[in-house]
Symmetry: C2
Subunit: 248 residues, 2 copies
DNA sequence: CGACCCATTGAATATAGTCAACCCGGGTGG
DNA sequence: CCACCCGGGTTGACTATATTCAATGGGTCG
């Protein structure tokens, strides 16, 4: 019997490679230990050598680094279905922190089980490898955003990306997404001060590109306009053709 | 008979995993086609679906993206021994450009040969996977640099990283490295205007952290001081213990 | 020589950060 | 119950950082 965690994983890997029964089976039998994580708790910290990978089932996780002066840079934000620390399978010591942004449900999968699966099923190994490569591709685009885009473009780009990634896992409506992220948190992700983050969001609101309701709901009235303003091209997300909202 | 390219590759993979004779042999028999690339030529461009990976034998390569407005962001710089587009093995369409910075010698390796090797030798596959994960780790640190460090710190960090990476492949002296990179190119890598790049370099010179000779030689008189100024911690490079200059 | 690229400079401008304060709502503890 | 605190969103004024524009001088190369 598949739990939701196993389903998520099978779906993720299948979206990359056609799976045989045996391959599907070995994933379904992975020992996944579910765990609830409260809001804003570290899951793995820099310097640790984890023995498990973390599959995000629900909620949001972030990966971040802390500077000597205490500033935080959020390196990436993760949505359900992601395996944020899959790199720890081959990079034994963590060079950054993994934490929950919201309260979350995660599935811990022992490295040993994954390694064993990878050795026996190269197709699955390649698919997981590809998962880490897409993470890289997102980081590259993050570099471009921080290096070349203005604050407003950066925020717009961030929202475009998040919308597409959330839509791919069925977590959006036609034009809205739920993003339980405070402005100080977004500032840490975009490399802005909180004050400037606030003004930047106001700028997008003034341009009619974003509507917020005071809560965590983000309405993007015109995504094409937002994307063109941001210079957003989803190529780097390397989504399958079936990146549309999943309605089971 | 091993060419330099094969040697580089065997050395790279061995630095990650102990290789059996069979594994060493399969790498040594990879069909690598050497090719000279003049300075500043694209090797692979965005949108392409390459059929080969590119092993850098000598010179420098860069990966970059171009914005709608024409601005360029250099995402990463590559030193001999790197396989900059290894991701193309599983991410079929390129989301960025790969080009030479200096004139360079590269070895083209067919995807098919690598895939075949990976299927038969999971240890080698894991080692190559790890290579791509270190690239990710560098990108994460790039995000931190662009998001949180001042221009001077960013440049200092960049020089620290490059020095360590070059030293790991025996391309440095005690305190100097050869970096055939113009200021406009460095500006594109660090997300600065060329004018500000120039002033930032002057700042590091005034602090006594960098000495240049007007050519491509960079002397770092006090690397500890430079590293502490930059907040540089080489953990993210995930170097083996034998990251010292290789003197054959 | 002229064209071009690179390094450099000065001045004006734009963008983002810092400091300080205010409001609001939700929780806590007296 | 209410006073208080705290985190989050917001604002204004000031400062710092970085970009833009324009120009100069030194090389190199056709």
């Amino acid at each position: 019997m598949l739990t939701t965690a196993h389903e998520l994983l099978v779906r993720k890997v299948s979206s990359i490679a056609a799976l045989s029964e045996a391959e599907r089976g070995v994933i379904a039998e992975l020992p996944i230990q579910l765990r609830d994580v409260p809001r804003r708790k570290d899951i793995v910290t820099e310097g640790e050598t984890p023995s498990h990978c973390c599959l995000l089932v629900s909620g949001f996780l972030i990966r971040y680094k802390i500077m000597p002066g205490g500033q935080r840079q959020i390196v990436n934000l993760h949505v359900p279905g992601d395996i944020p620390d899959l790199q720890s399978l081959h990079l034994t010591v963590m060079d950054h922190h993994l934490a929950s942004l919201t309260s979350a449900n995660v599935g811990m999968i022992p490295h040993a089980a994954i390694r064993d699966m990878n050795d026996r099923f190269p197709v699955v190994a390649s698919a997981l490898w590809r998962v880490t490569l897409i993470d890289s591709a997102i980081l590259r685009e993050r570099v471009v955003s921080l290096g070349q885009r203005s604050a407003s473009e950066r925020l717009a780009h961030f929202l475009c990306e998040l919308f597409v990634r959330l839509r791919a896992v069925g977590q959006t409506d036609e034009k809205t997404m739920l993003l339980q992220m405070t402005q100080p948190e977004m500032a840490d992700a975009l490399g802005l001060s909180t004050v400037h983050m606030n003004r930047t969001l106001q700028d997008l609101r003034a341009r009619g590109l974003v509507v917020t309701d005071g809560g965590s709901k983000f309405l993007l009235p015109n995504r094409d306009k937002l994307a063109s303003f941001a210079g957003f091209n989803p190529l780097y997300l390397h989504l399958a053709r079936d990146d549309r909202p999943k309605t089971p």
